[in-house]
Symmetry: C2
Subunit: 265 residues, 2 copies
DNA sequence: CGGGAGGTTGACAATCGTCAATCAGAGTGG
DNA sequence: CCACTCTGATTGACGATTGTCAACCTCCCG
């Protein structure tokens, strides 16, 4: 159930130049929150870091690990989860390219949950002092990182409401909407058509349901024409408004800019 | 259901001195996260602010409000909640003395949920530019505020797991534990004996249950000797370990210092 | 071709929700 | 001091969404 925390260190990047930095996805993500000048951009791309290639299912961070560095996802998908006493797992967040998967560890000192790769991918480990340093030396970068933490929090709150007060059908439709927009913004797909990176069991762990019920609910959404699925993992959204209505979805909590595809279509 | 957002502005404090500042509770809370020097302390206490007295149930912030200021709770209790399409409410956070109830608004620009007083109390409104200014001029203050945001996020994650993967009995016991510790740290009570500030209906909205089921579960916890209740709202914890075990509670996610009462007893 | 992970389905069980009635306590006005 | 009222707590009967168990299927890969 818990594969070893095996990782291969591949690249150490300390080049004095921006071009070709492995941290490009991080810059892209942070640029989304604040307008940077050349110094900001260069400082981000030149952050000292270690790139690791991780295989499917391998752990980036384990609960109670002491945190010496913050971790940015460069490619692939990762999840953050907690295990409760009954042995059940709750996925608390899903991360994609360019996102910090454990920025909080830089400030809080230890991990209060685990982070695991969902697919093969690469991550960059940045020493925690460097994160703090850049945040306070370059206020725009600091603001962007703080904003990122706060949007993270906003998503958690929506998940609390989603899991606490919506039924299975609404809950899953809501998650499908969130994914659609986040993948679009991350440049990983069209919002009307994407490949779900989670298995149905993982979807269940993310929504507080069981895989059996997730399966039934997806089938039902398909029967009702809310989504279409050419294969088990593919999600085709014929009518965005119908899905958004079904999922009681309002994108405000993602704090996206206004090219919000929820409004187009 | 939604009482008017009526508020009485009571005090405008811009005194040049620390002593007697209404922001003492904020300083106390932020001091918990970082060591401040005299300049830090003075800057916090001298933040320009407006104090408002709010009555029971009145709103501090409504969803979609534009945020011009951040709001610190000076006394009383407040909740943050979201309403879903079915009309049901989910409480996503409960706040006590000294806590920012909407720090995220300072950075994100608008409120993605509502904040409501649970009891009568006072809040201080601090202009958002002042928050940003102090955060970057005084890095220790900035670190403390960032840490505060991140601990907020950590609590949300635990709530996701609590609501998503624990049964009613465990879920409620967990919340009772969280309260016990947070009230203690805020200096608002003994961890073995406190007055629950939520009604059973509000407890239900916080745990994703119904008030009827909360009532039954509390009764059951009492019958089993996990808690004692001299009145409906009073919580008496005879055996902390028993309650913590019942609630699958590990205080790590609160990121408290080590005088953690969970370890005593 | 065998094995394994993930998806699908049905039968049945149970936790939790709904509805509705009653009760207890606090505050109010006569 | 006592009806009156309102909010919140309590309890029972019943219903339903969701979980559990278990089988089988499908696809991918070595």
């Amino acid at each position: 159930m818990l594969p070893p925390k095996c990782q291969r260190e591949t690249v150490v990047n300390k080049s004095g130049y921006n071009q070709g930095s492995a941290l490009e996805p991080l810059l892209h993500k942070l640029s989304y929150w604040r307008k940077f000048d050349e110094a900001d951009r260069r400082a981000i791309l030149n952050l000292p870091h270690v790139v690791k290639s991780l295989e499917h299912n391998h752990y980036i961070v384990r609960e109670f690990d002491r945190a010496e560095s913050a971790c940015v996802l460069l490619s692939g998908f990762a999840i953050r989860h907690k295990i409760v006493a009954s042995g059940h797992r709750q996925i608390v967040a899903i991360h994609m390219k360019g996102e910090f998967v454990d920025l909080q560890n830089s400030m809080l000192g230890f991990a209060d949950h685990s982070v695991q790769m969902l697919t093969p991918g690469k991550v960059a480990m940045i020493p925690r002092q460097e994160i703090e340093r850049i945040a306070f030396e370059l206020p725009q970068v600091g603001r962007a990182m703080w904003t990122d933490s706060l949007v993270d929090g906003s998503i958690f709150r929506e998940w609390v409401a989603n899991i606490g007060r919506r039924d299975a059908r609404t809950r899953i439709a809501h998650l499908l909407c969130e994914f659609s927009l986040r993948l679009k913004v991350a440049g990983l797909g069209e919002h009307s058509n994407y490949e779900m990176p989670l298995t149905q069991e993982q979807l269940a762990d993310a929504t507080g349901l069981t895989s059996v019920h997730v399966n039934r609910t997806l089938k039902q959404l398909q029967r009702d024409g809310v989504i279409d699925r050419s294969s088990p993992r593919s999600i085709v959204i014929g009518d965005w408004k119908k899905l958004a209505d079904t999922g009681d979805f309002n994108s405000a909590y993602l704090h996206l800019h206004d090219e919000d595809p929820a409004l187009a279509d």
